[in-house]
């Protein structure tokens, strides 16, 4: 296994986000349809469609997750967040029927993480959403694990393209374990290799120098 030196902050698990994780920051940038339950004076310029000075009560907007989470209050005075399509009744029945056929990358690359974050908004469908997320993951996990452990030295793009980002991370760790084991079997485990970071820098230098 190539020894790795760069250890980025991992994404949080479940309903918690890791403050410094790049994945969590990109995830919380996703937009959600919301409906304002009170006015926001002097912020009318955020709403592209109207020219009002304030954001009126009851206007429908698309706000990023981080803003919705920050403004949401249990007493429901400020915002009400609608579920994105993928977490609603219709799609939930599809997921419950057969989780393996769905292209999770197209459904938003952060299906599981965003779904877990949606549980913060106290929708009455929360138990169903949580149940669907879990069952989908359980249904798909076997295939991801099998394919990551058996695809050695081949092009894996067809296997990976329908996976959500969490599953892709799992696939990658499976692959790196497989590669490590295979290189150990061949006796290459003690061979000192050039660090991949160094080689990438060198490739980049050559590209930089070319006009």
């Amino acid at each position: 296994m190539d020894t790795q030196s760069y250890f980025p902050v991992q994404a949080g698990v479940g309903m918690e986000e890791n403050f410094l994780s790049l994945d969590d920051i990109l995830l919380s940038h996703e937009r959600l349809p919301v409906r304002t339950e009170c006015t926001f004076p002097r912020l009318g310029y955020l709403e592209k469609s109207s020219d009002a000075h304030d954001i009126a009560e009851g206007s429908k907007m698309e706000l990023p997750l981080w803003l919705s989470k920050g403004l949401y209050e249990r007493k429901r005075r400020v915002l009400s967040v609608e579920l994105p399509k993928v977490y609603r009744e219709g799609w939930r029945t599809v997921f419950n029927a057969d989780p393996n056929v769905v292209d999770l990358h197209k459904m938003g690359p952060y299906y599981y993480s965003l779904g877990s974050q949606m549980l913060h908004f106290d929708s009455p469908e929360n138990p169903d959403i949580a149940g669907t997320l879990l069952q989908t993951f359980i249904g798909r996990f076997r295939r991801t694990m099998d394919s990551s452990q058996n695809a050695y030295n081949e092009d894996t793009s067809a296997l990976v393209e329908r996976l959500d980002s969490l599953e892709k991370g799992l696939f990658r760790s499976g692959q790196s374990g497989l590669n490590g084991f295979q290189s150990w079997e061949k006796g290459q485990a003690t061979q000192i290799t050039a660090s991949s970071l160094v080689l990438n820098y060198r490739k980049r230098k050559i590209n930089d120098l070319q006009p």
């Binding site: 020894t3 760069y6 790049l22 990023p64 981080w66 920050g70 000192i192 970071l197």
Partner: protein, 193 residues
């Protein structure tokens, strides 16, 4: 919508997910700080107005701007921390001396030299004479190893004083601890017999 510049910085880092260090986006950082300043000033004036005139309906806007400030703060902190982790990786991959093109992308050498010093003093404190923990990243099987040169690297002196000329494609039988650094940098190649 606010905080667009901040997310751009994060995306820049995410694009290089293998751990390479991109150029320091000083401009971007300055824009984010300016946005934070203007948000803060708007909030200050609104808070004063809400307190003095008792206009409680301004509070949701104040809260929104505050969320944006916190978001910008989070993005900047994550950006700097991730760069720090990448610079740390450089010390473990490249050794103490960084080549010029890599150093160019760091904004200030400060943290890197501090980290080097901490690491060196830690290594000195281990065992009797100190222990170089950046060596032997894979379990060693022998003291001496066979290496082949991948590019011209000039002259190389080993412990007993003999000087070896590293020319492309020449093979040598050298002590492991001397060549490990060069192999990781891609100058030599470890030949398994």
């Amino acid at each position: 919508m606010f905080c667009e510049k901040a997310i751009e910085l994060i995306r820049e880092l995410q694009r290089m997910s293998d751990g390479q260090l991109p150029a320091f986006n000083e401009d971007g950082l300055r824009q984010i700080l300016q946005e934070m300043e203007s948000l803060y000033e708007q909030n200050q004036s609104d808070v004063n107005e809400a307190k003095s005139d008792g206009r409680a309906e301004l509070i949701p806007s104040i809260k929104l701007r505050h969320c944006c400030l916190l978001r910008n703060q989070r993005c900047v902190a994550a950006y700097l921390y991730d760069r720090l982790l990448r610079i740390r990786a450089l010390r473990w991959e490249y050794g103490s001396v960084l080549p010029a093109n890599v150093r160019f992308h760091m904004c200030a050498e400060e943290w890197f030299s501090q980290y080097k010093k901490s690491l060196a003093s830690f290594m000195r404190s281990l065992g009797a004479d100190g222990l170089d923990i950046t060596q032997d990243m894979k379990p060693p099987k022998s003291l001496y190893i066979e290496v082949r040169c991948l590019k011209d690297h000039g002259e190389f002196e080993i412990d007993d004083g003999t000087v070896i000329l590293l020319k492309k494609n020449s093979q040598h039988f050298l002590p492991r601890w001397k060549c490990e650094q060069l192999i990781r940098q891609g100058v030599l190649e470890h030949v398994m017999s």
